[in-house]
Symmetry: C2
Subunit: 311 residues, 2 copies
């Protein structure tokens, strides 16, 4: 049996997993991400942790295919990171540094692309080669997998679907500086904003009125109770996301669209609003795409990172 | 020296080219496309023509890498065509049939994807691996090349960017059955329609008034004369196309966007209106994309088809 490591570097913790190359996850663990001093200890910490696991399990170097690493930043095909928002790194040749630290083969990817690859390998996209994954969290992340490989793009910015424009008439600004980005409507923050607007503009009675904190979860909970105003909010959310996904599908022609992230915990009811609005707008050749909820949760990153090495 | 053939099957003629594998086009010619009887003679005609050229030039089988074929229909990765609008073919295993007819390796692609590959290899995208090509003709075609290979997609419908939605409020129908598709504004037909609308709605005097036929060429010609109404039309065209391309770029992160097709004969002035509107909307990571006019004209198909075989 051969083995590989999947490493998912986040701003607070580094998640790590040891996999058999057939996809069995043998062990997973976390270490803190030490971002101080330009994040200089992050890679040595990861290398040390991997070395300890190899020793503990008496794994021979020859039995290890390599280490896949996902990072929260654009990464070029050569494994170079130019800047990070929350690791402390500036320009860094991560792949080369890590290969020197471990004497193992290293592959790199952007965290959103890597999570999509994980879902393709062991989760909701199992058995497929072309998937689009959208992660609805504080922001909206995205990853596109084509022929089993992440769409990296020229600047490592492929699959940044949170910043597709879905509303040309928007006047409020997105974090990216543009207006009308998908992220402004389909993220947890965006749904809370839509809810606040509907509560102000609609006269309808609602379970959401008087609640101290109307977040995305509260909206979906109210929807499940049959709340009409919550339904208006989710319908608007579904319209923007369905529209964006139809425009993405006409470019990349996926077999499966996977929806993950905190907001997706609302479950199948969320899918139904997205799929209905997708179908209104989809090009005829893209109407048979399957919609699925992500299955791997926080493990998607380590799974996809490990898969990077197996190509 | 090694050789390969590029074959571009259209509804009226089949364009063919003999290339050296280093990209030198040695000879190009055409034969009629015989679409009668379910198009049964198309492939035998192509095989015969290739065999004659091989004989004339005394080319040995061993020196020929293979035959690339572009067809005006979706094609799966396995080289299967399920239906065609204008070749007479229904379901057809083109790759297998052609390999049996010629004893040469055959690769297949959709004509729009293949034209994009041609521009990448020998035209406006030379030296790049990630390009988006949009062809502005009677309709709007598109091809996306990533890592030097066409984005084929699950149904062979990747890169169908003419059917990305750019106007949610449109009420007129596109040929595909949806409303608000890019093709309704950026094709030759679309530009003529925009011009007719502006002529009716605007009070401005214009060189276009009283012209018998106001087509896309007339609009760009008037623009070059400084005509204000023509500028309004081209501005609207540029707004829709720039917006669509910004949304495509945020998904595929190309290095170059190539604009071809009959409408692109308007030249650099067309690029300027598209690029200006693209920049208004582009995600920051995609602002350095280069805009170029297609360079290969009708040869893009045979060039890209030949390149299919060289991967």
């Amino acid at each position: 049996m051969k083995y590989c490591f999947g490493v998912d570097i986040g701003g607070t913790t580094v998640k790590m997993g040891l996999f058999q190359t057939d996809g069995v996850l043998l062990e997973k663990w976390e270490i803190p991400t030490r971002t101080e001093n330009g994040g200089e200890m992050i890679l040595p910490d990861v290398a040390k942790s991997i070395s300890e696991v190899c020793e503990k399990r008496s794994l021979e170097k020859d039995a290890i295919e390599g280490i896949g690493i996902g990072v929260p930043a654009p990464v070029t095909e050569a494994g170079i990171v130019k800047n990070t928002a929350n690791l402390g790194w500036g320009y860094r040749e991560v792949k080369r540094e890590m290969e020197e630290l471990t004497n193992l083969k290293v592959c790199m990817g952007n965290d959103a692309n890597v999570a999509a690859l994980g879902e393709m390998w062991l989760g909701a996209g199992k058995g497929e080669e072309n998937i689009v994954m959208v992660t609805l969290g504080t922001g909206v992340g995205g990853g596109v997998i084509l022929n089993g490989r992440p769409l990296v793009g020229t600047n490592g910015a492929g699959g940044e679907i949170g910043h597709i424009c879905v509303n040309e008439t928007e006047t409020k600004k997105c974090g990216c500086g543009n207006t009308g980005c998908l992220e402004q409507y389909a993220s947890a923050t965006g749904i809370a904003r839509l809810a606040a607007e509907h509560l102000e503009e609609e006269k309808k009675d609602s379970l959401l009125r008087g609640q101290e904190k109307v977040d995305a979860k509260a909206v979906f909970d109210a929807l499940k109770e049959g709340d009409g105003l919550a339904e208006d909010v989710v319908e608007e959310f579904g319209r923007y996301l369905g529209y964006a996904l139809a425009n993405i599908a006409v470019v990349v022609d996926p077999a499966v669209i996977v929806i993950g992230g905190g907001v997706s915990k609302a479950g199948e009811i969320l899918l139904s609003y997205v799929e209905k609005n997708y179908m209104k707008r989809a090009f005829f050749a893209n109407k048979e795409v399957k919609f699925k909820l992500a299955e791997l949760g926080n493990d998607a990153g380590i799974c996809g990172a490990a898969k990077l090495i197996l190509e």
